[in-house]
């Protein structure tokens, strides 16, 4: 394995971009220390690291959003200093944001040209922008009508529009910040193809991702960051995903998924039959057993989230639901929580936690009734509950007075889990439990999920990450366009079988 950046950097062509000794200090905290890396034309250079390793800060420095405290950036050997993102763009460095930053009410063409509209005299030249937008998307290997309103597009389509918008700027280096975080395997594959095409044009690509198999697939070189320091830059060919994980975490991550002994068949706690969520799910039926972890796989838009939201009373729905032998019908979350069914939303920041409130308020929000003494909330007991939750769920925070929005994604998920477990639910439905969470925290969350099942609770995991479903579930149900189309368990729990069911086509033919 080649390790030092110097040895890697021995190719003949001069690097397109060279960063040396970059450091960044916020206040007294040094978030980046002495980072050096190079990007050559026509390569994909992946940056990996746990949350808080400094990847985003590094990317923001390279894209002109932050100034480095120390260190130097050279383009074609000439030192540059960016006054802002626009300045970086003028030097040909563009950034594709992780989040979709499009105006939902404008059309595809209007979004792509937003802020740099083409004009004919005093009026905007819609015709030219329309054809320009159509071409830009075709260049990326897709087709979207440029007159479509963005709010009608799927997440993957929006991302394509966003990439088209960014690539409209003359560019030599494109930075992708976790572009596949909310994509299904198929959409990811399509995106990787787009990136390969960009690379083929001689553009340098910086690629940030948590998904190591995907990094292995796309990257030519991999740079690992840990705690704001450079661990090393390697040729991707020399690393397996397991090596990457070990370098990121700094220890062996031998097993990501906890050991689970095959649960004996126990009594059903939840039986669902002929359940409809109008517009999203039809005629769903399944049984959840005590102590079981049941997975829900499917493409985004297959109706998994909506089915769960319908079950717990967040959406209008009808059908037969039997809980512990008694028919139930939940019209709001209050009633489902009371019955012992908790749902953790996939949208942690938007639906799970109050980001501008502190940890204590978030922890007890769903279970305030337990903290009432007389007319008042007992803040002392709340504080004790927070101490316990921090301990039990290993929520890593310097101070307890921090706001929920300041926690890392992994710790936010732990807090959300702790919040729902305050109610001691019998059934826990977790939607995308590890989305955007680094590998160390992932491992912990899997352990928590397994432990909850061990305690005799029944768990439903909705996830778009098939390895995680296969790794932790006893059985997996697959949904396609609103229907449960199949169940896999035992040796049939493979990505191929799931993809086949999820797409309705033979997986071999698609890949």
């Amino acid at each position: 394995m080649t390790v030092s950046p110097a040895t890697v950097d021995s190719s003949i062509s001069p690097p397109l971009l060279e960063a040396s000794g970059l450091s960044k200090t916020f206040g007294i905290i040094e978030v980046l220390k002495d980072i050096s890396l190079t990007v050559r034309a026509g390569e994909v250079h992946a940056i990996i690291g746990e949350n808080g390793a400094g990847k985003s800060t590094l990317m923001k420095i390279l894209a002109g959003n932050h100034q480095p405290t120390r260190g130097e950036i050279r383009i074609d050997g000439a030192a540059v200093s960016f006054s802002g993102p626009v300045d970086a763009e003028d030097h040909g460095i563009v950034l594709v944001h992780q989040e979709i930053l499009l105006s939902p009410d404008l059309t595809v063409a209007q979004n792509i040209y937003l802020g740099r509209e083409l004009r004919k005299g005093l009026v905007v030249d819609d015709q030219a922008m329309r054809s320009g937008a159509r071409q830009a998307i075709v260049d990326l290997g897709g087709y979207i009508d440029p007159d479509t309103i963005v709010s009608r597009l799927s997440i993957a389509q929006r991302q394509l529009v966003q990439i088209a918008r960014v690539l409209l700027v003359p560019h030599r280096i494109v930075i992708f910040d976790e572009p596949t975080a909310s994509l299904t395997p198929h959409e990811t594959e399509a995106l990787l193809k787009v990136i390969r095409d960009i690379r083929a044009k001689g553009v340098g690509v910086l690629y940030i991702s948590h998904r190591l198999p995907e990094v292995k697939e796309i990257a030519d070189r991999v740079t690992v960051l840990r705690d704001g320091r450079l661990v090393g830059s390697h040729d991707a060919a020399d690393l397996q995903p397991a090596d990457m994980a070990r370098l990121m975490v700094g220890r062996d991550v031998a097993k990501l998924y906890p050991d689970r002994h095959a649960a004996e068949v126990r009594q059903a706690v939840l039986e669902v039959e002929g359940f409809d969520v109008p517009g999203f799910a039809r005629d769903a039926g399944f049984t959840l057993r005590k102590g079981e972890i049941l997975g829900f796989a499917g493409l985004i838009g297959a109706g998994r989230t909506e089915l769960m939201e319908g079950l717990v009373g967040l959406r209008p729905a009808k059908g037969k639901v039997v809980l512990n032998g008694h028919p139930v019908s939940f019209t709001d979350v209050h009633s489902s929580l009371k019955a012992g069914v908790a749902y953790l939303s996939e949208d942690r920041k938007g639906k799970g936690l109050l980001l501008t409130k502190d940890l204590r308020v978030n922890l007890t929000l769903a279970s305030l009734g337990k903290f009432i003494r007389g007319l008042q909330i007992d803040r002392k007991r709340e504080a004790e509950a927070l101490d316990r939750a921090i301990e039990d769920f290993d929520i890593r925070t310097g101070t307890k007075n921090i706001l929920a929005g300041q926690l890392s994604g992994g710790n936010q998920q732990k807090l959300l889990l702790a919040k729902m477990m305050m109610l001691d639910p019998q059934i826990v439905i977790i939607d995308e439990p590890t989305r955007g969470i680094d590998i160390g925290n992932k491992e912990q969350i899997y352990k928590f999920i397994a432990a909850l099942a061990e305690e005799g609770r029944s768990i439903i995991v909705v996830s778009s990450e098939m390895p995680e479903l296969i790794g932790i579930c006893d059985r997996i149900l697959v949904m396609r366009t609103g229907r449960i189309v199949g169940e896999v368990q035992g040796e049939h729990m493979t990505e191929n079988e799931i993809v086949e069911l999820a797409t309705g086509v033979n997986a071999g033919a698609v890949a």
Binding site: S56, D332, V333, H334, L354, L355, T356, L365, Q376, T399
Partner: protein, 333 residues
């Protein structure tokens, strides 16, 4: 800027920054008192100050209710008209002479006012929550309705308490004092203390802030968003009723123009007090402070000679903008 930056930009770095924003209105009030002293030494006399604070009572009490509505993510433009409407009906009730004993009559009239206020608030709440109409539009509508009904009841003129004895009995509620403290001031602080207790210490208060902070998170946590919001409007209606109860004895009458633009003054007091207009943060004592600031600025202008008192509206307008700028800069840190 990726997810992380946009988030941290919106989220203050520590909870201490919020405290700075909470202290700011009180610092402003202290500065005003100093300024007032230099403008006219008589300004800081006990007599003048109790006078000023007494006059701020109506706006302060209404603004306490507005703090609830705004914290929950709502808005109520109808409060000024509601004052006129509830006051008119209250006086009309007293004028029916349905109850012979004046004391009983007075108590009954107060209860009628509270009931009417709660009903008006409930109407606002249900229209916005169950009817799902934007609070701005919904309460713009009820503002017209309450004001129009008042004009109709008074036939464009005024409605006066006819019974002399009743009027005499009622007068001390505005003009009286307990141990030298004017009753309206006691009412302000008592109402504020109750409002603060409910907002900061009870489950309902916590739910209100959660709903205003992020409606979806509240819903996914099993909180009934509609119920919490509706109750906030009822609280607003009750606060309007309390304001009416101390307003009516002041003149013993009300007219079609009573309470005009009070809704804007109440919102100003809330915002100057540090409550975020987008919801999720409620500052009861800040609101009281904001109401005092508005009244004191007017008083200083009257007592001093360097600015015409006709400019009061302009100065109050400037205050709201300055308050927002100060808050913004405090939160950025």
């Amino acid at each position: 800027m990726s997810a992380a930056t946009t988030d941290t930009a919106r989220v203050p770095k520590t909870s201490r920054d919020w405290d700075m924003a909470a202290i700011a209105p009180f610092v402003a009030l202290a500065l005003l008192l100093v300024l007032g002293y230099f403008a006219n030494p008589n300004f800081v006399s006990i007599a003048n100050l109790t006078n000023v604070i007494t006059r701020s009572a109506f706006i302060a009490i209404i603004a306490l209710g507005a703090t609830y509505v705004i914290s929950s993510g709502g808005l109520d433009l109808s409060v000024g008209a509601m004052v006129a409407f509830v006051a008119s009906l209250m006086i009309l009730f007293m004028n029916t002479g349905a109850i012979g004993d004046p004391m009983l009559m007075l108590v009954a009239a107060m209860l009628v006012a509270l009931g009417l206020g709660a009903a008006c608030g409930l109407a606002n709440g249900l229209i916005t929550t169950v009817g799902k109409i934007e609070p701005f539009i919904a309460t713009l509508g009820t503002m017209g309705i309450y004001r129009g009904l008042t004009t109709w009841l008074s036939q464009g003129g005024s409605i006066t308490v006819r019974d002399r004895e009743l009027q005499q009995l009622y007068r001390p509620v505005y003009f009286g004092d307990i141990f030298g403290i004017p009753i309206p001031i006691i009412v302000i602080f008592a109402t504020a203390a109750l409002a603060a207790f409910v907002l900061y210490r009870t489950r309902y208060g916590r739910h209100l802030i959660a709903v205003g902070s992020n409606e979806e998170v509240a819903r996914y946590s099993g909180i009934s968003v509609q119920k919490v919001r509706t109750i906030a409007y009822v609280v607003q209606g009750l606060c309007v009723a309390v304001a009416v109860i101390i307003y009516v004895p002041r003149l013993g009458s009300t007219s079609a123009t009573t309470g005009i633009l009070w809704e804007l003054q109440a919102i100003t007091a809330v915002v100057v007090g540090g409550t975020a207009l987008r919801g999720g943060v409620g500052r009861i004592w800040g609101t009281v402070c904001g109401a005092f600031i508005l009244e004191i600025v007017g008083n200083i202008m009257l007592l001093s000679n360097f600015v015409s008192e006709y400019l009061i509206g302009a100065i109050q307008g400037a205050i709201i903008i300055i308050a927002m700028l100060v808050q913004r800069s405090l939160m950025r840190k």
